[in-house]
Amino acid sequence: MDETRIAQILSRYEGDPADLIPVLQDIQDEYNHLPKDELKVVSRRLNLPLTQVFGVATFYKMFSLLPKGKHQVKVCLGTTCHLKGGPRLVDSVSSRIGCELGYTSKDGQFSLETVGCLGSCAQAPVMMIGDKYFARVTVDKVPKVLKPYQK
């Protein structure tokens, strides 16, 4: 474990128990997941039982105990996207990046998840790769969308 890296994240906070979620968000952003040893450090520094730290880490969807892929693919399954073919889009993306829903591909390039709603309902079905949105992604557009991200 890189002691200085985690110490640097914790130094942004005062060590208040209510800082738990922002601290975990920072770790998730920087490490791409929540490593076990780092969670133990968080528990000690915020003076919180490890059960609470793990409870929070496993309750919220943005946290992951396993490393996520280099490119995080989020397919929207909001109501409009559901009606406009979102589930088919999930299948198509999944088979093309070789990664089951909720997992990371073997080469570590992609992880695939669905989200409740991205708020771009007028352009359904919508998906995101990293911070970039893709509008009206019908199944035939999937190869073109994925191409720049595939090695």
């Binding site: 609470q52 929070v56 109501t79 009606l83 309902c121 352009q123």
Partner: protein, 617 residues
């Protein structure tokens, strides 16, 4: 930006700001709202900047990437002021022509002008389109006027004007009186009277109080809060300062869901600007009032939109709701009196104070005052954000503003209120929309999502979708919600896979009654609305799934059959490449065949076929 030491300083600065503005200056306003952003607003604004620089116009023409222009369907939208010329479906390729024709020569580009989808008539100016004519924008008013990252822009349209009135001319009780008289009800869903909530909080014991803005907009199909937070963040902050003064809070929080990274960025910037200008922090405008705002980011849990779960989340716990009472107004964040209102509610506050409660209360219906923003999406021509007075009928919203259903398809239902709402059938199209009327027909206002469905939507599938969504999102704390949703999900799986029985429908109704009565929070209590409303109005669709093992709308996968029409199939093999289970076979340039044993009915062949040769029955 100076730090304003007094109200007069602010007034003088605003006067100078306005004096510098040339009303005839050409402005290019590129929509970068939730709908247009995925279509490439940022790249488009960049292209405009380069094209303007090339023509030497960069100092003369003001270019802004703004919040949502409302009409998402035909993005990217570009508005040219002062003539209000509205262009739609603008792409990078159109930029040189717009710059040359409109900005240099003053000529509109006809092929990019908006058209009325019903009559096909050209509508050169924004206000010519029926979509905009019937609206009464109050919360959305500034979205296509200002650069959301510029405090000067916000000040120029009257921003932070309420501070003069509130901090120096009104007592906290006056402010609460005004909000009470306006009749404003919470825009997050339940519709509790905002003024009453504030008064309860002000009268609660203790010296420390909190204000929270709920921006955890989790309802699928609703994006008005995202549009406001991204497009007009200072309105929310201004509303919260007023609220803080009214109830005596010194600290506010804005809770934003993590799926909205741009909203977080814009709010952070706006808070920073407001602090620098002296609208937040200690001794605001030397009034003696101290107030500041922090941002709390959600971590991806729908249940955190529920107020007590949201509070648990800010405290660093898992997002489990607490039984009420005590209500947050009495014992909320860290056990202290807390006002929690939705983003749209806060954005309404400055206008109510500026224009007066009577002005506000003159809009709307008897028990639902003011305007409401709806996100009109699904099978409707003009998808986007609309703001209308309460009491506008569904027909007006869907047909007059929304331009009706695409391809002349028949209307089947409109789903309001997200997963906690219901599906409203055609017989109620003339219903005036307000909190009470929607409840009477088995739905709710919710945050204002309005999803229009035509005959290609299966109501059993829609309800199954919501139950599946809520099953995933239930926090699992109370039994009626956790187990009830599990059983409902099971029934829906049976029915949509052709194993349903008619007795299931009665059991589902019984289960719904137990869940509505016994669940701790709104998630479980209202989870029954999609089920009960579809069982009531679309029972025949359930019966078709159960008796005939057919999905009339051709949606429920296990009940479908895919075949290839040998006459139309060209043998291009597009479907073969798409099929994940290699169920399609045949020679190139010859008709293909689908092996029904292998087919998993995913429909990828149907969607990938360019020749409509794949049949779905």
């Amino acid at each position: 930006m100076p730090r304003f030491e007094s109200v007069d300083h602010l007034t003088e600065y605003r006067r100078q700001l306005k004096a510098r503005l040339d009303p005839n200056q050409l402005q290019v306003l590129v929509c970068a709202g939730p709908g247009c952003l995925p279509l490439g607003s940022e790249e488009l604004a960049q292209a405009f900047q380069e094209a303007l620089a090339e023509k030497g116009l960069d100092g003369k023409v003001a270019l802004k990437a703004t919040g949502c222009h409302g009409l998402c369907a035909h993005g990217v939208r570009v508005l040219i002021r002062p003539r209000e010329i509205a262009y739609e479906r603008v792409t990078l390729a159109d930029v040189p022509e717009i710059v040359e024709a409109t900005l240099v020569n003053g000529q509109p580009v006809e092929r990019l002008m908006q058209r009325d989808p019903t009559s096909g008539a050209l509508c050169p100016c924004k206000a010519d389109l029926p979509f905009y004519q019937a609206q009464q924008p109050l919360v959305l008013r500034k979205l296509d006027l200002i650069d959301p990252e510029s405090l000067d822009d916000y000040l120029a349209v009257g921003g932070y004007r309420t501070l003069r009135k509130v901090l120096f001319k009104m007592t906290p009780d006056d402010v609460i009186d005004a909000v009470e008289q306006s009749g404003l009800r919470g825009r997050g869903g339940a519709g509790f009277l905002t003024g009453r909530k504030w008064r309860i909080c002000r009268e609660a014991e203790g010296d420390v109080r909190f204000i929270i803005s709920n921006g955890d907009e989790g309802d699928p199909g609703a994006f008005m809060d995202r549009a406001v937070m991204e497009g007009d963040p200072h309105s929310v902050i201004e509303g919260m300062i007023v609220g803080g003064y009214a109830i005596g809070a010194r600290q506010g929080y804005i809770y934003v869901r993590h799926e909205y990274p741009l909203a977080v960025k814009r709010l952070r910037l706006a808070i920073e600007q407001a602090r620098e200008a002296g609208f937040l922090g200690a001794n605001i405008l030397r009034s003696g009032f101290n107030f500041d705002i922090k941002i709390a980011q959600g971590s991806g849990a729908f249940v955190c939109g529920e107020e007590t779960a949201l509070i648990s989340s800010i405290e660093g716990h898992i997002g489990e709701p607490q039984p009420r009472p005590p209500y947050p107004a009495q014992a909320g964040l860290f056990g202290l009196p807390t006002i929690i209102n939705n983003v749209e509610t806060w954005a309404n506050i400055p206008e109510i104070i500026n224009m007066g409660p009577q002005w506000y209360a003159a809009m709307g219906t008897e028990n639902s005052k003011g305007t409401k923003v709806f996100s009109l999406v699904g099978s409707v021509n003009h998808t986007g954000l609309v703001e209308v007075p309460m009491g506008t009928t569904l027909r007006q919203i869907i047909y007059d503003l929304g331009g009706g259903i695409p391809d002349g398809r028949p209307f089947k239902a409109v789903q309001t209120g997200g997963p906690s709402g219901g599906c409203i059938p055609a017989q109620f199209l003339d219903l005036p929309v307000d909190y009470d009327s929607l409840q009477q027909v088995g739905s709710i206002m919710g945050s204002g999502g309005m999803i229009v469905m035509d005959d290609t939507s299966c109501m059993v599938d829609v309800s199954r979708y919501f139950i599946g969504f809520l099953y995933d999102e239930s926090c699992g704390k109370c039994t009626p919600c956790r187990e009830g949703l599990k059983q409902l999900k099971h029934f829906y799986e049976e029915i949509t896979q052709g194993r349903g029985e008619e007795a299931h429908l009665d059991l589902m109704e019984e289960l719904c009654q137990a869940m509505a009565g016994a669940s701790i929070c709104g998630l479980g209590q209202s989870a029954v609305n999609p089920v009960l409303s579809t069982l009531k109005y679309f029972r025949h669709e359930y019966e078709a799934h159960i008796r005939d093992k057919k999905c009339p709308a051709l949606v429920c996968r296990p009940l479908l059959t895919y075949t290839v029409d040998p006459e139309t199939c060209t043998g291009c093999l597009a479907c073969v490449r798409e099929c994940p289970v290699a169920a399609i076979s045949g020679k190139k340039k010859e008709a293909q065949e689908i092996d029904q044993e292998l087919c998993i009915k995913c429909g990828l062949c149907f969607e990938s076929c360019q020749f409509d040769a794949v049949r779905r029955e």
